[in-house]
Assembly symmetry: C2
Homo-oligomer: 505 residues x 2
């Protein structure tokens, strides 16, 4: 059974607080102890009641963490691209991989699945053409006939012809792979001197894979493979920000958005049928924030229709793309007011506060997302600097989807111990840990992000209770109905108990 205490220490806190507002010059060790406990109890998971087995595992974790902090190179203080191999050798990471982490609530459709699979499997399929753009990116298309030339791109090459001519295809494959991810073995600060360069490379990589993954047969397999990878990482549920592209077939024919959404529904059902301990997935239809107001009106109308027609798979609506260079939520206020005006349900899951432009129009997205009654906040990196928005988020239980590796790679913060969510975790602010674009960052599933949160944000103090609450949060703050949440929690608890008993010494 999952036991969550509703702040039983609040009364004690008030009392201690009162005692302490007077002048104390010789601290009473018991009072000190009580305040330390009070502070520890305020963090994420601080009020979780632990079983004996959980306490045993916690003691083990505490020891591991003390050793981890002694490492000369402390991974959360380093850029993830450099820290990755260190993290892979960490016993805490091994444990987190095995841990049932609940759901991944902030992941983008085109970055769920490893790039290696995309290159080694997808680009080896027949009818796969590639061209090189003037800006040194690549484009793909599958076609039964020789495809029409693309502007600003070299003539198409049929990959199977090219590979047939090569003695060794490793270099070609690596070069393709390099175009489909922003991960690099070189010094990331040299390769990406500023946010503009990394965002540009990031968007080019999505354009590069576009022709691969929007080919309907690949789309299905890509999604299935993505589910497999998250499932293997002990994630049991996904909420996917999805662009719902119009998929194409080999003959060039095109399917509409509803077809794409239905494909998600079918594959999710297949996968869940084959993996009964996987709970499922839901889709947050997402559109690029570069569109103008009238286009947005049409899209919101379509989203309302999709929500009505596919209530099981569709969770709601969001906007994607860099906040700093895109249009703010307030610009789209008329379109975003449509569902409420029509009395139609369209839950919002807005990205907001993924910025360091404090006080600008973009920085207003946080408050606006809350005013539009967003169900969660994507990133919320700027939230602690917005006391009104932060208060609303807490009071209404609007969870922040914290994506640590993403914020570091996209250059909002260097040492993850300084990530603003460290403060949120110390106060048990409603939050979930997610991985945003794992394939793009050279990460996978949720374990790397859980590692950064547990070791980096949480410091020595966060414990098995923190991990447990983070996993439970991912179900409690999901878009699932209360009844589904209960079912998911029961499934998770079974996995959790098994994990604890297998790993507690």
């Amino acid at each position: 059974m999952v036991v969550l205490l509703q702040r039983p220490l609040a009364a004690v806190a008030g009392l201690l607080w009162y005692c302490l507002t007077g002048v104390l010059s010789i601290p009473d060790p018991r009072q000190r102890e009580a305040l330390m406990k009070l502070e520890a109890s305020m963090q994420t998971g601080g009020q979780m009641i632990l079983t004996d087995a959980e306490k045993q595992l916690d003691a083990l974790l505490f020891k591991m963490k003390q050793e981890e902090i002694m490492r000369a190179d402390f991974p959360p203080a380093m850029h993830f691209f450099k820290a990755r191999t260190l993290i892979q050798t960490s016993p805490i990471f091994s444990l987190l991989q095995k841990m049932p982490k609940g759901g991944a609530l902030h992941v983008h459709d085109l970055s769920t699945t490893s790039i290696e699979w995309l290159v080694k499997n997808v680009t080896y399929r027949p009818h796969c053409y590639m061209c090189c753009t003037d800006s040194r990116s690549i484009r793909f298309v599958f076609s039964s006939q020789w495809p029409k030339a693309l502007p600003y791109c070299s003539p198409w090459i049929l990959l199977e012809n090219l590979r047939a001519k090569l003695v060794n295809t490793t270099d070609l494959d690596n070069s393709i792979m390099g175009n489909l991810t922003i991960f690099t073995d070189q010094d990331p600060e040299t390769v990406y001197p500023n946010q503009e360069v990394i965002w540009d490379t990031f968007e080019q990589a999505f354009l590069a894979m576009w022709g691969l993954v929007t080919y309907a047969p690949v789309f299905r397999d890509y999604y299935y493979q993505g589910l497999t990878e998250f499932y293997t990482d002990n994630v049991m549920y996904l909420e996917l920000r999805a662009l719902l592209p119009e998929l194409y077939e080999l003959d060039g024919s095109i399917h509409n958005r509803a077809w794409t959404l239905k494909t998600y529904q079918d594959i999710t059902r297949d996968f869940t049928a084959e993996h009964p301990d996987f709970f499922g997935a839901r889709i947050i239809f997402s559109v690029h924030r570069a569109v103008n107001a009238s286009v947005m009106t049409g899209i919101v109308e379509e989203a309302m229709k999709l929500q009505r027609d596919f209530p099981d798979i569709m969770a709601g609506f969001d906007m994607v793309g860099r906040e700093d260079s895109g249009r703010p939520l307030w610009y789209f206020r008329d379109a975003l007011s449509l569902p409420a005006e029509h009395g139609v349900t369209l839950p919002f899951f807005f990205h907001a506060g993924e910025t360091d432009l404090e006080g600008t129009e973009v920085d207003q997205n946080l408050l606006d997302a809350l005013l539009f009654n967003t169900s969660r906040i994507g990133h919320g990196f700027a939230l602690p600097r917005h006391p009104v928005a932060k208060g609303l988020s807490r009071k209404r239980g609007v969870a922040v989807e914290v994506c640590l590796i993403s914020n570091q790679v996209m250059q909002l913060v260097k040492d993850l111990r300084n990530h603003p969510a460290a403060t949120l975790m110390s106060e048990n602010h409603p939050l979930v840990i997610s991985s945003d674009d794992p394939a793009m960052f050279g990460s996978s599933g949720l374990s790397y992000d859980f590692y950064e949160a547990f070791v980096g944000l949480g410091g020595i103090r966060s414990n098995i209770g923190s991990l447990k609450e983070l996993a439970i949060n991912s179900i409690r703050y999901s878009s699932l109905t209360l009844k589904q949440q209960e079912k998911a929690l029961a499934l998770w608890q079974k996995k959790w108990d098994k994990f604890v008993s297998e790993n507690a010494l």
Copy 2:
């Protein structure tokens, strides 16, 4: 007159909050506006009532800040060593230099005065000997006779003899200067790969200047020159963390600590007499946290005696040195309890939370400083991660001494927009801006730190009211009596009004 409103918006806030805990899907623009205003009013200076002239200056500052944020290289996001020349060209910085900033409450005795003055003036005085240590640092002594050799140091060289032999002394002077500061023109991340290296260099630089500044005649001039530099930067009051070293004379005779403290008192009186618009300075006697418990007991006893004998100049007591490698406050609890046990007043001004070792024994200093009834918190970098300590600090009005450039240079944070004090400023947490060791960091006075706070922490939103409250805070949270504070505020207000009228368009 200084007008500070006591949160008149609290009632409105409560009301708005209540309204907003319901579900709103179509935001009311007036309500949105009200919430934005509410949030702006919660920041440092957000409730300051502005005169017409202040409003005019604010409009100018807003324009300047918008232009500043458009700069390709945004100084607060860069390492100060690289940002310094950019800051010097900023019109905001020019204005901040002219602004009366009140007091500097967190500055260390041996880093108030420019290194250039130390080299070009002090090392050119007669009887100045230098030697080079095995670890490539330098040591100095003034002596009427040839001094006895130091262990692990080359034979002494009389600098005037050495300089007489050189055609050009520039290289020698630059090399000496390089040993007395941690500022570098090279890439700071390459020169200082981690915190250990920079702390070591930092402490070596203090050892290098030790023999220069503890020579009694130099000590007097050094302090007078330090006061001059802060005064020139429009700082009117200082609270100095001072080691109170035993000063020596040319014949090797030694003065005791009381003599050093009295020297501070005399020079401060002289300086204030010569600069009637300078308010004064007070001393926080500080000891290195590397000492053991029994040594600390003796030192606290001496501090109590000094506090009794020099109540005007002595403000209280603190410990210095790197928290991460030193002993935590709790280790010294018996010694620190002595004043209260004896019913003797010895105000504490503890460094606490200058660390990223979250959850460790060191990280406990914040709560312990508050339990020992500290008057202020030095740095408090880790405060936002400690909700209990943060609550106590706010409730008791224990101000945090925020030293931005110091925390960046000593590698706690890279982009100053991510400094935890950004959150504190957004909530008007009691805080003051200070410069810690300006000479050591290649900074001076307070203006550089005010620039980082105003442009970096505050973002677009912080305004003339923020600057005004920061300056007022530096008097309100000083160790001055209420009566002295009133006098200091009146003096500051006169300067402020002049500054505003001269700079408002």
